[in-house]
Amino acid sequence: MVKEDPKIRSGHPAVLEQREIIEREYLAKKATFANAMFILLAALMFVLLQLYDASSTLKWTYGLFFVFLAALNFVMYVYGEYRDNVKLCVYLNALAMYMGVSGVMMEIRNVSAFALLFLTYAVVAAYQERKTTIINHMAFLFIGLVTVHRFPGILMLAPTAIGERVTIYVLLTVFTALMFAASSVMIRKQMFYYDQLAKIKEMDLRMIGTVEDYVKQYRNKEPDRTRYFRVLRRFTEALAKKMDIENVFEERIDIIEALEKMPETEVLKKYPEYSLEEIKELGRFSFETDGKLRALLFKIGQTEALSLPKEDIYTDTPLRTLSFHTDSHYAQIIAFSVFYVLLKKGAFHTEPLTDEQIADVLSNTDFAHLVHSRILDVYIENKDVFDNIFRDAMAREGTT
């Protein structure tokens, strides 16, 4: 059960949990492709061992090793637990690939075996996962450097060819660093999207709450739940008759109504033929504000045909900002001032925020990136002055 926290930020338990779920979902998709490449790589290793007349014991060991690994991945898929274990699978696969390629290099000691190291790097990189990226670059660099140092013959280097060796050390180190930087940029971008997706789900939920608050303020009434269930009884009775089945709905509606008046345990005693899980599920029919059913009804009611042209998807950048880098600083200052006064005043029939709340939102959430850093510094260092300016202006006009 997720604990409530009033802020939507990266550390919010619900957002964190959701980000982890989204990351695993997407990782599972990427892993499908990378695993397929892994199979091709394993086949290539096997072909090389065959062509270079490796011992049959080694070939058998390789065969069993890859079959075991494939079985492990398969079991995790079949039992539906794969997504929870997808990261573990990916780490195992990455390590197994490097173990495999190291073995081939030691056995064959040829340029083509060394080239296989690059291919292994490419396959592991396809997982695009944070820790796997670290494993990938460390393993690639370590195996590469050790091979050149201890077994220069693999690259047909003479023991005295210091210049060539230095060049290869530099090449490997510089380009591992370069690719690590490239992977970090890509992974940061992905993590940013996962984070934004997790946050937007929470924002979606809270925006529904905001609309519900407006409806309550404007209409001064809640949906008439008694009427809802009265007509539902009429409908389900007719439905059962039409489908020529026993009316299984009647008792369920009784339980929903009973749940409004007594706790689940009491209802369970009264209806012993139902399990606690069934009673809990019927509890979701509650009409309370913030409830699952209310949000679902709202979402369905606001669904509309959506056309999202490709250019809209990409131009619709994840972050809206008060600080477009092409805007003049006047525009950026005015945007921030309007934003601040709206929050401070509690505009549009919302509750006013205190300066502590505003500063907290601006400093500890994505807003820190959405406001010009100098404007943000000015505000954080002069909160009291901002407060005084606001109060004076409002008092003079008599609108506070």
Binding site: Q18, V166, F192, R206, F285, L319, I333, A347
Partner: protein
């Protein structure tokens, strides 16, 4: 270097062009290190002093030109120049008669091209490099063979397969990466569109409340205008720029709410600088569903609790209610909600209308509804729509 490191750290927030500029700069730093360390060393191996000097000079010219292009914000051109430099270095090292490791230079240069994550650059330059690599292996295959007893042809094929495999693998990887980003971006854009619609409803209700309670909207509230104006003046003073004009721009910002941006831009009497401010400030209007309004509600909702319970973000009917009977009852409640609650816009743009039976039938045919209801649920409704209409009004 510090700026480069900070940019790398905050790369997720950088616009595409700035991100590319950062990558080019990073490649140039590595290229400089690499060239400075390896070109002098290569003189010890297979090349004459003249050749090495020409290469060193060429390298320096290309490096300086690429760097200048970054400074001049021509980052795409700088990217191409840095790729040419690496391709040049590949040809140089590969030409060394005894340099078997020249083979690896193909991988290294491909990695540099991959770093830019530009599928077209990768296809054109990477593809050309691969063709050159295949020819190189055919010519130098024997030098790559080592001591094993195998035909040169077989050895060449293995080296070529690995090189081409590496290239093709990353090509597919690029395509899949693009698809992956597209999925993420689509999911994000879809959810944002939904929130935009919810915010539009919120703003409609707020306007109705203003009208009902006789409250002035913020844009017409003199106290609000004064507070904005004085806050902006204060910030601007601390920016230590010429400050007086900002008051005029604030006044213009509030006046802008009476016009559309198109009207302002089309008016030939308005000065160019004013039109520029109008374009910049239009997205911060507070009488429309703008970026600023989105950020206002977002900030407000940061400090607003909401109890979501377990499976907080799960809204698919069959995931929320597992029993078939419960799912059918929810369908009934959905119908009652849509027919009776006034949550739709009427012809005057007010949220004062519920859906008609025909509209609900159309809604159930929408693909977008599959996010919440399965195809079977929609079919069940459409097959029994008369019953819903008769009993649930």
């Amino acid at each position: 270097m510090r700026t480069l490191w900070l940019k790398l750290k905050n790369s997720a927030y950088l616009p595409v062009n700035e991100l590319l500029g950062m990558k080019v700069l990073l490649v140039l730093v590595f290229m400089f290190l690499f060239g400075a360390l390896t070109i002098p060393v290569s003189i010890l191996e297979a090349f004459s002093v003249t050749v090495t000097l020409v290469v060193a000079l060429g390298f320096f010219v290309m490096f300086a030109t690429s760097f200048s292009m970054v400074l001049l914000k021509r980052v795409r051109l700088a990217m191409h120049l840095s790729i040419y430099t690496f391709i040049g270095l590949t040809v140089y090292y590969v030409s060394g008669a005894t340099l078997a490791y020249g083979y690896f230079f193909f991988f290294i240069t491909l990695i540099v091209i991959i770093f830019f994550q530009d599928v077209y650059a990768y296809t054109v330059y990477g593809g050309s490099l691969i063709v050159y690599g295949i020819l190189y292996i055919n010519a130098q295959g024997e030098a790559l063979m080592g001591d094993f007893e195998m035909s040169v042809m077989m050895s060449n094929v293995i080296h070529q397969i690995i090189l081409v495999g590496f290239f093709l693998f990353f090509l597919v990887y690029f395509i899949l990466s693009d698809t992956h980003y597209e999925q993420l971006a689509t999911d994000f854009a879809t959810r944002r569109k939904a929130i935009d619609k919810y915010r539009m409803l919120a703003m409609k209700f707020s306007a109705e409340l203003d009208e009902r309670d006789g409250v002035a909207a913020p844009v017409e509230d003199v106290g609000f205008q004064k507070a904005v104006s004085e806050t902006a003046l204060f910030i601007n003073e601390l920016f230590e720029d010429e400050g007086e004009n900002i008051i005029e721009v604030v006044e213009f910002y509030f006046a802008l709410h009476q016009y559309t941006l198109d009207d302002v831009l089309a008016d030939s009497r308005i000065a160019a600088i004013t039109k520029r401010y109008a374009s910049e400030l239009d997205k911060f209007r507070i009488d429309k569903n703008t970026d600023l309004m989105a950020l206002f509600y977002e900030a407000r909702n940061h400090v607003k609790e909401r109890h979501g319970g377990e499976d907080r973000y799960v809204f698919r009917l069959e995931d929320v209610f597992t029993a078939k009977a419960n799912q059918l009852m929810v369908l009934g409640l959905v119908y009652v909600y849509l027919r009776t609650e006034w949550m739709q816009l009427d012809k005057w743009g007010r949220v004062e209308r519920s859906m008609t039976h025909e509209e609900i039938c159309e809604l159930f045919k929408l693909n977008e509804l599959r996010t919440y209801l399965s195809y079977e649920h929609a079919v069940f409704f459409l097959e029994n729509e008369d019953l819903f209409n008769q009993c649930l009004r």
